[in-house]
């Protein structure tokens, strides 16, 4: 039941979350899983009401996904993994001196997408709610219990493998990686998940660091002097988001953010952002027009996929069936001893659907109310401050420390080495063109995949 105290807590948490993720969003190279999952998990472990943690999470998505595009627009540097597909669009626009146009349109698209996809996702999830118990029914396949949602996850991971740069390796990775994960769980003697996720997340960084320890291998990545970052000028930006978008941009942003919010139940947010954005860019003969349309629509898709990819699996399926729910949002599917069940179950059992919807819309609005005007007015100043004060070295150290502490918590010293093993393999596979989403989803499906493999 909603009360004033809960609303007050939701307000405070949403404000703090927005402020923290504005900075994290602007920081170059911050991975979503590494920055969102551990904090959500820490809050859940600390006994914060799971609905409030979900409000925190929604506020974080809104602030993070709006601000991670700012360094892209101003300097061509992505603030998060999801902003990487926007870099080529931004470089074209910057060449023509349109950096502030991008900033204006990107912010507006994100603002509109955040509101419409959240409301749309909540309606779709409510309509699909009756499907939940059907999807959670266990079927016996030659004696192996397989929940029906597993097939959604399986189709999703195969699609993701087929959209990876190295399709054959990505497909082969599914059974191989599942065996590795189940092997590690066997050694640990418990169904560990979170530290394995973080192993995948920090995998590329850890792999590159070990790679660079060899003098011969690191030759290709040695650079002299500091990296030059050119920060573009920003003009006046209207606070009214509808004024900043053309009719065509508004239509594409709205339609694609809604469609992809549902597709993200099983598909990769990064994959969808690349796919739809590239299609739109190629649809225009004028290179600059194509880049601006793609950049703007990608901004909407980022919000749509993150919100839909979290809420539909959480509310309808009750299992992490896509890279978003099996990545940054995974803490909501992990059993928390303090509440004696998974946070998503607690939320659905304790609160009415209306209460959940109101709190989530409220937290998104608070996040927008802080992030949007702040970015409209001070995007350049915040970016300058963050770029001048925070080194990548410190940030990578923080990621590694968080992964290590969670690995130790999960399974002691073997957990740390297991996490490093997963990180090295993930880093190597990512370098060979396998989407990290394939690995995230394989971790979730590993027990069933291995049980089915044993049948063959």
């Amino acid at each position: 039941m909603l009360d004033l105290y809960l609303l007050l807590q939701a307000t405070i948490l949403s404000i703090v979350s927005a402020l923290i993720y504005i900075v994290i969003g602007i920081l170059p190279g911050t991975d979503e899983t590494a920055t969102m999952a551990p904090i959500a998990l820490a809050l859940l472990f600390a006994g914060v009401d799971p609905l409030l943690v979900l409000a925190w999470f929604i506020s974080a998505i809104v602030a993070f996904k709006i601000t991670d595009a700012i360094p892209v627009a101003l300097a061509g540097i992505p603030g998060g993994v999801m902003a990487v597909p926007q870099v080529p669009d931004a470089m074209i626009a910057k060449e023509h001196g349109y950096a502030d146009t991008l900033l204006r349109k990107g912010n507006s698209a994100a603002f509109i997408a955040a509101i419409i996809t959240l409301i749309f996702t909540l309606i779709v999830a409510w309509l699909l709610l009756p499907l939940g118990s059907w999807l959670n029914t266990e079927d016996k396949i030659f004696g192996v219990g397989v929940r029906r949602w597993f097939w959604i996850l399986f189709v999703g991971v195969v699609i993701l493998a087929l959209t990876s740069r190295n399709k054959a390796l990505a497909l082969m990775t599914i059974p191989v990686f599942a065996l590795l994960i189940q092997g590690l769980r066997g050694v640990y003697g418990r169904p560990v998940t979170v530290s394995l996720f973080l192993g995948v997340t920090v995998g590329p960084i850890i792999y590159e660091i070990f790679y660079a320890l060899n003098k011969d291998l690191r030759r290709g990545i040695v650079r002299k002097g500091f990296k030059e970052v050119r920060l573009a000028r920003v003009g006046r930006i209207s606070v009214n988001p509808l004024k900043n978008l053309s009719r065509e941009e508004l239509v594409h942003t709205s339609i694609w953010s809604l469609i992809t919010s549902v597709l993200a139940t099983v598909m990769s947010p990064v994959g969808l952002t690349i796919l739809i954005g590239d299609l739109l860019r190629e649809s225009k003969k004028n290179r600059l027009e194509g880049a601006i349309l793609a950049y703007t629509t990608r901004e909407g898709i980022k919000l749509g996929t993150y919100i839909g990819g979290t809420l539909i699996p959480l509310i309808v399926i009750g299992a992490p069936t896509g890279p978003m729910s099996a990545g940054p949002a995974y803490p909501f599917f992990q059993k928390i001893d303090l509440i004696g069940r998974e946070p998503f179950k607690y939320i659905l059992e304790k609160y009415s659907y209306l209460d959940i919807s109101l709190i989530l819309i409220y937290s998104a609005l608070i996040s927008l109310a802080i992030t949007y005007p702040l970015i409209v007015k001070y995007s350049r100043e915040i970016t300058l401050y963050v770029f001048r004060k925070i080194s990548a070295d410190s940030l990578y150290g923080l990621f590694i420390a968080i992964a290590l502490i969670l690995a130790y918590y999960d399974a002691g010293l073997p957990g740390i080495f297991g996490m490093i093993l997963v990180a090295l393999i993930s880093g190597a596979l990512a370098r060979q063109g396998v989407s990290l989403g394939v690995l995230f989803m394989t971790i979730v499906g590993a027990p069933t995949i291995v049980s089915l493999l044993k049948l063959l």
Binding site: F45, I205, L338, S391, A392, S394, L398, A401, I405, Y409
Partner: protein
């Protein structure tokens, strides 16, 4: 303590990781500080829980304090690592 970004040696070599320039030595320092902060607070959790008389929350406190410790280590590491970006304001 290392000097900040305004003291650039154009011949100094760095490694490019994910579009950012880093030094292995400075990553080592920052990782050591963040890991130390994380584990010190992680292992302090039972004592802190005892002081707070929240014995049942030890497990939860371990993760929360570990994350706080890592963040403290991160903040401490900032002056020990150099920002390797040369910002040109257009």
């Amino acid at each position: 303590m290392r000097k900040k970004s305004f003291e650039e040696d154009p011949d100094e070599e760095f490694l490019e990781l994910y579009g950012e320039y880093v030094s292995l030595k400075e990553i080592g320092i920052s990782t050591a500080l963040s890991v130390a902060g994380a584990f010190v607070l992680y292992f302090s959790a039972p004592y802190i829980a005892e002081i707070l008389k929240t014995g049942s929350l030890v497990s939860a406190l371990k993760i929360t304090l570990g994350a706080v410790g890592a963040s403290i280590g991160f903040l401490i590491s900032i002056p020990f690592t150099r920002v390797k970006r040369k910002i040109v304001v257009e």
